[in-house]
């Protein structure tokens, strides 16, 4: 049996379209560590494992719809983000639509420097500590590059709510980063 790294992405995709279990396993091995942090950002570590599994099942189910437009990783990432949002919606965690007054930014040059000194795992965990609603809006806007209009549509809220949630999440995150950094010192 060939090593996982010797298969091209196109070969793996073709194998998965045929339902080849070996190709599916190799694809999973190649992308699990890439998609897992995405799931952690949205779900927290506790639930990320379940969504990782659901996401791959959806990928294998819909892989025949991937037409090669755009990167495959980007296509997969969208599926995982949707899987996370679906899971959050199922838990009714997005029922937070009250507008929050934009929080004052705590960030300064010092905090940005602090950010550089934190590991990605710590940053992911800090994001995961936010409430489901806040981290969903923050992830979509800041890390996935959605506009507020798109965030509002994805989460079923108004644009103003999206702005409020992102602002609030950013403020809380900066505060947590500062606390973590101070605790480390």
């Amino acid at each position: 049996m060939r090593d996982s790294s010797t298969y091209t992405e196109a070969e793996l995709i073709a194998g998965c379209v045929r339902g080849d279990r070996n190709a599916q396993r190799l694809l999973y091995e190649r992308y699990a560590s890439v998609m897992y942090p995405v799931c952690v950002r949205y779900m927290g570590r506790e639930d990320a494992k379940d969504v990782l599994q659901d996401g791959f099942l959806t990928v294998f189910d819909k892989i025949d719809t991937y037409k090669g437009e755009g990167s495959f990783e980007g296509w997969m990432r969208k599926i995982f983000v949707n899987a996370c949002l679906m899971r959050i919606r199922k838990g009714d965690a997005l029922r937070f639509t009250e507008d929050i007054t934009e929080a004052p930014e705590l960030g300064g040059v010092e905090e940005y420097g602090v950010l550089e000194q934190l590991g990605t795992k710590e940053i992911l965990d800090l994001i995961a500590q936010l409430s489901p609603g806040l981290r969903s809006a923050f992830n979509l806007f800041v890390l996935e590059g959605y506009t507020h209009e798109e965030v509002a549509e994805a989460l079923g809220m108004t644009e103003q709510s999206s702005r409020s949630q992102v602002s609030r999440a950013r403020s809380l995150l900066q505060k947590k980063i500062k606390e973590l950094y101070n605790g480390k010192k």
């Binding site: 070996n22 599916q24 560590s33 950010l115 992911l124 800041v142 602002s167 950013r170």
Partner: protein
């Protein structure tokens, strides 16, 4: 507020981040197996429904004329009978004779149709529809005719014998033929699902009994299952059977069945290990079942059944890493079965049945499958049944 420097920094830090993921492949594999099973079931159900619908339509279209048990009493009209009336009473009214329908109705519940609307010449054959004297009745008073017009001497209507109970055939008092006669040969289209209790968690060793090399003619490659957690999909079967009544309550049925078994396990192919490879087995079999009907109503029937089957594996295929390998399998698979059954006839000749039963598969050196791992299985057979 739009994206700011903090956002950009955070994004840069998390761009393309990789973190070892917990191993969820086992769960994914189980999920894929479930979906695969659902796809197979859906195809199977679609095929079964299409086949049943096709057969039902064919049956309804091509079935022969039914015995409606209508009694037809040919009635002679004035033109046909032309009775000779006595000369001395040319103006006298023709004596009233009760239509035969009325007479018969006095004796029986059977439906009677009097064909009085279309005058027909008297044809001897038509009078055989009912064994009564056809000349006994008429539906309307016969018109007076002159003697010159008379060509055939006919007994005057009023003098014809009256219909009595003795004139009716011996079986005339019997009820109509039961709509759901149990003493009828039947044709069944069946499909069955078997419960699989050993899905996923079995450990087994590559023993000779399950080695394909032991059971059949070896192909060019050697295939051996290796220890692991095999998964067995629910076997699917389709069949066609004919049931013949032996006595009032006993029925013997036999026919042809096809079964499809799929397993998934880790295997060595020419000493190379492949995880999660599929093994597909195709069996064709001949069942023989005796049923004892302990409840019989026109619409429902309940019965106990016992029997057995002999099956031959006609094809075996391994699917691994986009490759397939076929192997022949020798020997026969014998099995015994006991169970209960229920049938429901929703039209006189077409019914549904459901036979839950227990099946035991004997150890006949067959390839590894749910039958070798779990010889005793619960089977749920459903199908359509036609009365021939």
């Amino acid at each position: 507020m739009e994206r700011n420097e903090f956002d950009q920094m955070l994004r840069n830090r998390l761009e393309g981040v990789i973190e070892p993921a917990p191993d969820v492949w086992e769960g994914i594999s189980r999920g894929l197996a479930r979906r695969h099973r659902r796809v197979i079931l859906r195809r199977f159900a679609t095929g079964a429904v299409a086949a049943a619908a096709g057969l039902a339509v064919a049956f309804l279209v091509f079935r022969g004329p039914q015995d409606t048990r209508q009694v037809t009493a040919p009635i002679r009209t004035a033109q046909a009978v032309q009775p000779v009336l006595p000369q001395e009473t040319p103006d006298a009214p023709v004596p009233e004779v009760a239509p035969i329908a009325t007479q018969i109705a006095q004796f029986t519940k059977h439906q009677v149709t009097a064909q009085a609307s279309v005058p027909k010449p008297v044809v001897p054959e038509t009078t055989q529809d009912i064994p009564v004297q056809p000349s006994a009745v008429t539906t309307e008073p016969a018109a007076p005719v002159t003697p010159q017009e008379e060509t055939t001497p006919v007994t005057p209507v009023s003098e014809g014998p009256q219909l009595t109970q003795d004139d009716l055939p011996a079986d005339f008092w019997q009820e109509e033929t039961p709509r759901h006669k149990t003493h009828t040969s039947q044709l069944s289209i069946l499909s069955n699902l078997t419960t699989v209790a050993s899905d996923g968690d079995l450990m087994y060793k590559a023993s000779p009994m399950h080695s394909s090399s032991q059971t059949g003619t070896r192909a060019t490659s050697s295939v051996e299952p290796v220890s692991g957690s095999p998964k067995f999909f629910s076997p699917l079967s389709l069949g066609l059977q004919v049931a013949v009544p032996v006595t009032d309550r006993f029925t013997l049925s036999s026919g042809l069945t096809y079964s499809y078994l799929v397993s998934q396990y880790d295997m060595l192919v020419d000493k190379v290990r492949y995880d999660g490879a599929y093994n597909q087995l195709h069996y064709v079999g001949i069942p023989l079942t005796m049923s004892w009907h302990f409840v019989q109503t026109p619409s429902f029937g309940f019965y106990a059944l016992a029997g057995g089957a002999v099956e031959k594996c006609v094809a075996q295929r391994y699917v691994f890493a986009s490759n397939t390998l076929r192997e022949k399998v020798g020997g026969l698979q014998w099995s015994a079965r006991v169970g209960l059954g229920a049938e429901y006839w929703f039209v006189p000749r077409l019914g549904l049945y459901f036979d839950p039963s227990l099946v035991y598969f004997f150890d006949n050196q067959q390839p590894l499958s749910i039958r070798t791992q779990q010889p005793l299985q619960a089977r749920f057979e459903v199908g359509l049944r036609f009365k021939l």
